[in-house]
């Protein structure tokens, strides 16, 4: 039998004891859960008292009245969010206050129980939560085993691969139906969009190959001293066709003699990704500075652009698999969301740090510091 710890926060003693009574003989069971859950109830009369209890005990569920004598329920909710306390909050509220409900949802309230409620309503609400908690615990267990990550990866991957197929298929069907008439010229947009989507998918598959090779660790690595300037130059040549179109100047500042022991293909992947991003997310007529330097036990590679830049909060998510920063400005830029995640994974292989400096509207600078001794 699993136990769920529940905290009732309400200034009315009647509500508190009522809830206690309702839950005393109540347990939740589902066919797919391998144990039943029952409830251990603690009470708090005020928000202040609730916070104190939350600081000292672990709870699974909080039933929170909004109208309290001191601080309000919504403030307790804010506190829970701020402190990142892992608990499911259900607001006890009158349905009249929609504003409050919206605010509470934004602050992470899971559900609402309108006041007054029947025992049945409360039980069915808690039944759902128990199920939710069970799933959450299962997920945590899976996460520990690394399964969750693979599972998520696969589900996102399937999404990323199917979307272009759906898009192209949709256009082909429109053409089959001759939606725009007999003249092929009237389908130019659809054909171009289809080709773009196919190209994006090809890029994704290429990235994916890099990705799985690094991920599996099976690729034979050929570590030898390499001249970084050469690799940088090759990468610059690769992005040239697009940078010329966007009228972007690329400057390489480096000492020809800088060498580093590494796998050539891996460094190429890093340079190609950083440079192609610097071009893609740059402005028309912008500039890119590639700097290579060697000092104090580190080889530092930095690629700075004068592009759209990004917020600090975006930087934090940047290196996750399939993460793309979505905004009005990036809407029309295609990408797989894997490039930087690959860069990070390779950097990790060398014990290198990846740092991002960025300002919205001004540009971004990606700095990788490779330790020389390792």
């Amino acid at each position: 039998m699993g136990k769920l710890n529940l905290l009732v926060v309400d200034d009315e003693p009647g509500i508190r004891s009522g809830i206690k009574r309702i839950l005393e003989s109540f347990s939740v069971s589902y066919p797919f859960m391998d144990e039943d859950f029952d409830f251990e109830v603690l009470e708090a009369e005020t928000g202040e008292e609730a916070i104190e209890l939350l600081d000292n005990y672990m709870f699974d569920i909080v039933l929170l009245d909004n109208k309290l004598p001191g601080i309000q329920g919504i403030e307790v909710l804010e506190y829970i969010k701020q402190q990142a306390i892992d608990v499911i909050v259900v607001m006890i509220t009158s349905y009249a206050s929609l504003d409050m409900a919206v605010k509470a949802t934004k602050s992470g309230a899971y559900d609402f129980v309108p006041k007054p409620f029947t025992p049945k309503e409360l039980r069915s609400c808690l039944e759902n939560i128990a199920k939710q908690l069970f799933l959450r615990r299962m997920t945590q267990k899976m996460q520990q085993e690394g399964k969750q990550i693979r599972f998520q990866f696969l589900s996102v991957l399937s999404h990323e691969l199917k979307s272009p197929i759906n898009a192209v298929e949709g256009y082909l069907k429109l053409m089959q139906e001759k939606r725009n008439g007999e003249n092929i010229v009237d389908y130019t947009d659809m054909i171009n969009r289809s080709l773009t989507r196919i190209q994006e998918m090809r890029n994704l598959i290429l990235d994916l190959l890099d990705f799985t090779r690094i991920e599996s660790g099976k690729k034979a690595r050929n570590i030898k001293p390499l001249y970084l300037c050469e690799i940088a130059r090759e990468s610059i040549d690769l992005v040239q066709p697009i940078s010329i179109q966007k009228d972007i100047d690329i400057h390489l500042n480096c000492n020809e003699k800088i060498s580093y022991k590494a796998d050539k293909q891996e460094l190429e992947i890093i340079f190609n990704n950083l440079l192609s991003n610097a071009v893609k997310y740059n402005k028309q007529g912008g500039r890119i500075d590639v700097n290579l330097s060697k000092e104090k036990g580190f080889v530092t590679v930095s690629v700075a652009d004068t592009g759209i830049g990004m917020e600090q909060t975006d930087i934090e998510k940047l290196f996750e698999d399939f993460v793309r920063i979505k905004s009005e400005q990036t809407k029309h830029i295609s990408g797989t969301g894997l490039g930087l995640s690959i860069v990070k994974k390779i950097a990790d292989l060398y014990g290198a740090s990846v740092q991002v400096e960025s300002k919205p509207g001004e540009g971004s600078n990606f700095i990788i510091r490779f330790p020389i001794e390792r």
Binding site: V102, N128, K131, K162, S163, N166, A167, G170, K331
Partner: protein
Amino acid sequence: MLKIEKKKILLVDDDPDYLFQLSLAIQDMGFEVMTASTQKEAEDIVEKVRPDLAILDLMMENQDTGFILCHIIKNKYPEVPIIIASAVTAETGLLFDVDSEENRQWIKADMFLDKGIRMDQLHKEINKLLKI
């Protein structure tokens, strides 16, 4: 003559091509279409207009943006039917359905659809939800 007001359907999807194709198809079915490609845009629309039905993509900015939007819309207009469309289905083991009472309570969408659905099927489902 009786003036028949077209039913408004809100489509939210971050894939511009899918959004375009779906809105064409739904206009062909005789509905008025409103589109949004981000959670924010969708929130702005429902702030001003009450759609008669909404079709939401599941994975947009975040993997669960569809659920969040669904929650927001249901809070504001509990009676508006919502379809969540996704390209992710059985092959990943990620399966949702809203056929059981428990699932309906926490997911709060009225229906889940695979994005590969045929348009005539979609039309039927929409009519069912709109009780046409």
